[in-house]
């Protein structure tokens, strides 16, 4: 995991400002961007993976049962999955105030 930007001293900078750890931007959770989140009606889900295919953020994962659900840490709530779902079983639901 990378040290936060503002904690780097000049000596911490890798030669050539190279980032050695591939994909370490995963630390940044984009889940708090959204207003709506997708909810899957498992009754009608046919596990076709079309939602997974169309997610720009790779924020849909396959559960042990084979359903595809959104990863709320990263889901930005764009609604593409709901729009593309083969059986229209995904609804975008407004985030509740906690």
């Amino acid at each position: 995991m990378a040290k936060p930007m503002h904690e780097h001293t000049w000596r911490d900078i890798e030669v050539g400002s190279v980032v050695l750890e591939a994909g370490n931007a995963k630390e940044y959770k984009t889940g708090d961007w959204r207003t709506f989140h997708p909810v899957v009606d498992k009754e009608h889900c046919i596990k076709c993976a079309v939602c997974w295919m169309f997610c720009p953020d790779d924020a849909i994962y396959k559960t042990d049962e084979g359903y595809y659900v959104s990863d709320l840490e990263y889901c930005k709530g764009c609604g593409i999955c709901a729009n593309e779902c083969t059986t229209k079983c995904i609804t975008m639901v407004i985030e509740e105030e906690e």
């Binding site: 990378a2 040290k3 930007m5 780097h8 900078i13 890798e14 400002s17 980032v19 750890e21 591939a22 994909g23 370490n24 931007a25 995963k26 630390e27 940044y28 959770k29 984009t30 961007w33 959204r34 046919i46 596990k47 076709c48 993976a49 079309v50 997974w52 295919m53 169309f54 997610c55 720009p56 953020d57 790779d58 924020a59 990863d71 840490e73 990263y74 930005k76 709530g77 764009c78 609604g79 593409i80 709901a82 729009n83 593309e84 083969t86 975008m92």
Partner: protein
Amino acid sequence: MEKHNVFAAAMMPKFEGIASGHRACQGCAEVLAVRHTLKATGKKVVVANATGCMEIISSPLPTTSWEVPWIHTAFENAAAVASGMESGLKVLMRKGRIKESKVKAIGMGGDGGTADIGLQALSGAMERGHDMIYVCYDNEAYMNTGIQRSSDTPYGAWTTTSPPGKKSIGQVTWKKNVPEIMVAHGIPYVATACSSFLFDLEEKVKKAVATEGPSYIHVLSVCPTGWRIPAEKAISYGRLAVDTGFFPLYEVENGVYRMTYEPAVKLPVTEYLKGQGRFRHLTEKEISEIQRRTDEELEKLYLKVKMTNPQAMAAAAGLETGPCTTEHNKETCIRCRRCVKVCKDTVGVDALAMGEPEEGQKRGLPYMKDPDACIGCGTCNFVCPTDSIPMIEREGVRSIWCLDFPIRTCPQCARYYIPEKQVEWSVEKFGVDPKVFEVCPDCR
């Protein structure tokens, strides 16, 4: 939906070349295209990216979203850096300094970084013949810097530097056709793609990876933020761009054009333009100009498809062509005469006949005696017990007995079902109501 089994999505490669946590806008179809490009290439790549959306959303020091080797240097030189990586890897492998393996160099840039400031570097790299792929992710403006126009911004579109006003309609020039420029460089593989058609995109990327030499893929990347559409409609609008003929999907392999997708029903451009905030200001006159020009460009493309078909090219050059692909197969024919009989007695067209037997043979071979009479119904192909009468259907044409018949596509199930000539014949000869043929028998 593309004509794929809907469950095929679950069989797509699992590799993720760009990790979650990137800062792309909600509904960004460009990063989706990048995600699938890397699924199709797999891990064995080195990527050079131009300055732009994909670079900024993915690489804030000291972090990166990239799971593949990735380098960014400047705006105009993605193709140049990619060609440098290709050169370095080639020589190092040749000298045995690194182990020999297939690592493909990929250059990635937006429409600005490709068609404008990057055109020189792209042209040079393609001309020099480096074994690399260049992918242009075209969101039709300089989106990263705030939606300024590029040469790939479509005619009439609002951008911050081509705003419509009292003295302007918006973008006043037609979209620069970069794929055509690439074809003119004579490179082995050029294709257009769109992130609403992900199977098509992945297949094209795979083809590019397998191509030895330069390939170019131009990907229409819907940008909800810049196009002023709701985020969830990103995929729908990509589909509309293709289904209206605005952005046709095709590939050019060694100069031969081929459509890779044809909409079952071609929609008018208004279906695409309406609902996009960037086109909201357009008048009827401007929209009809867009329709006219879109149709014209599509016609030019179809003409190229026809003219670069190898047999057509040979014919145009006055060359002897090889056997056509639907020539009757003399080797497997058992001379049963069913084809001739069914054409004459059952269908009533009588276009086939048996030829004279050769020496040592009891019967001759069937041949097309009356090409003008043939209606392309395919019954002869259906009854042949040895499958010696090949029939091919593609790009709206059925070919049989070396004859081509334009064929209808069912507007409901999108399958080919009846040649136009057969419809005409049925109507003329038997007075069948043409309405019967509007939909295929299964959907009727």
